[in-house]
Amino acid sequence: MENLIKQLKQDIIEALSLEDVVADDFNADTPLFVEGLGLDSIDALELILLMERKYGVKIEDPKERRNVLRNVKAMAECITNHRNSNG
């Protein structure tokens, strides 16, 4: 999980061009939207694509999305669950 969180942080920084942000600037619990990193709806789309393309997890339900994308820990848990259920 640790490694996945580390990787996810890097993925987020790259995908969203967060040039002034490094992995140490936020932790797994930092809110991604509104407060914390202050991401917006366009960033959300990018993260959904990231989850789908890189991690094979497709999240279509808006409520589930808000839940999964609330912080890096939730994203990592979702990916891990998906991996476990797919064997």
Binding site: A15, S17, D20, E46, L49, R53, K54
Partner: protein, 358 residues
């Protein structure tokens, strides 16, 4: 229908963003592609928004910010922009990803940014501006279309202040693709551009924004008195160019003999420059001054926006900077300056400037 330039903001391959006057030092390049000298965008644009902006949007926001600040900071009544290529960089990025990944794209942002009006939209968002907002994308007519629309907007009484911009970014793919058509010279010193008698030119880019107003803010304000475009698909003959120019001047109550200085889009290409040479030799009266600008900014679709800035600086200072001069003007005071440019001899444009001070 005329309007007054009350401020400008220019990002170009020259040191033009620091102040609105002619730069003290001219940048020389040994290249066939000139790249902008850019400000530190962090001082001008919110870093949170800055992060995912393609370069062209940064150039547009920064130049428009400088222009608006210098005009006193008020939001304009309209924002009208011309760009020949739009956000080509992001368009290419999205296109290549669609092709390379067989439609399994990983990022949607380049698609959003690739709409041609992205710069105008971002400027409006930054200013929370709800005014008229249009983007023109028509090669060598892009900037003049925006300028003409701005003049009409003011003339209609629909706007008192209009932010007008011309912006194009040079991308690697653009240079490569046009290179196959022999568009570019071998790398050379840019200041020597006009003296080469060979084919091709040098690529350039820039972002130039102007605040046009219905009232001059001081006596020496430069007026944009008229804009004219003509499209001759098979390539224009000299007499056609002459007729169009005469017509345009006449419509603006001006004769050839009243033009003190002509700023020409000379770009070093031996075929393209024939039209400019003819104009210099045969059209205007002896003593008319001539200047050029593309050796400073390169060739790009909206380069006439750089010319508009240079033309206004020439009139404001009542002198032609040596590095731009082709032939000196005989007069001591300059009232009228004409900008003439063409793209591939099919798209021809004329802008008439007047000096308010005399």
């Amino acid at each position: 229908m005329k309007a007054y330039i009350t401020s400008s903001g220019v990002i170009s391959p020259q040191n033009t963003h620091d102040s609105s006057g002619f730069p003290a030092a001219v940048n020389t390049f040994t290249a066939n592609r000139l790249t902008c000298t850019e400000p530190d965008y962090r001082g001008l644009i919110n870093p949170i928004q800055l992060r995912r902006m393609p370069r062209i949007i940064k150039m547009g926001l920064a130049a428009s910010h400088l222009c608006i600040q210098r005009a006193g900071g008020s939001s304009p009544d309209a924002i009208i922009i011309g760009t020949g290529l739009g956000c080509m960089d992001n368009l290419e990025k999205f296109l290549v990803e669609v092709i390379d990944t067989n439609e399994h794209i990983t990022s949607v942002l380049p698609f959003i940014n690739s709409t041609h009006n992205a710069v105008a939209a971002q400027v409006a968002m930054l200013l929370n501006n709800h005014g008229y907002n249009v983007t023109y994308c028509h090669r060598g007519f892009s900037f003049e279309s925006a300028l003409g629309d701005a003049l009409m907007r003011i003339g209609e009484g629909e706007a008192q202040n209009v932010l007008v911009g011309g912006i194009d970014e040079c991308t690697g793919d653009f240079v490569k693709l046009n290179g196959y058509h022999g568009a570019w010279k071998q790398p050379l010193i840019n200041l020597e551009l006009a003296s080469t008698k060979t084919a091709g030119t040098i690529a350039g880019e820039g972002s130039a924004f102007f605040m046009l107003s219905d009232n001059p803010i001081h006596d020496n304000c430069i007026a944009v008195e008229g804009v004219h475009t003509f499209f001759i698909p098979q390539g224009a003959q000299f007499d056609e160019i002459a007729a169009e120019t005469d017509n345009f001047l006449q419509q603006n109550n001006t004769g050839r003999d009243e033009i003190d200085i002509v700023l020409l889009g000379i770009n070093g290409d031996i075929v393209s420059d024939a039209g400019y040479n003819n104009m210099m030799e045969n059209f205007f009266i002896p003593g008319t001054g001539f200047a050029m600008y593309k050796h400073l900014c390169g060739e790009y679709y909206t380069s006439s926006s750089f010319a508009l800035w240079l033309g206004s600086v020439i009139l404001e200072n009542q002198s032609i900077p040596g590095v731009t001069q082709v032939l000196p003007a005989a007069g001591r005071s300059f009232k009228k300056l004409l900008i003439y440019n063409h793209y591939r001899n099919t798209e021809h444009t004329l802008i008439l400037l007047g000096y308010g001070g005399i």
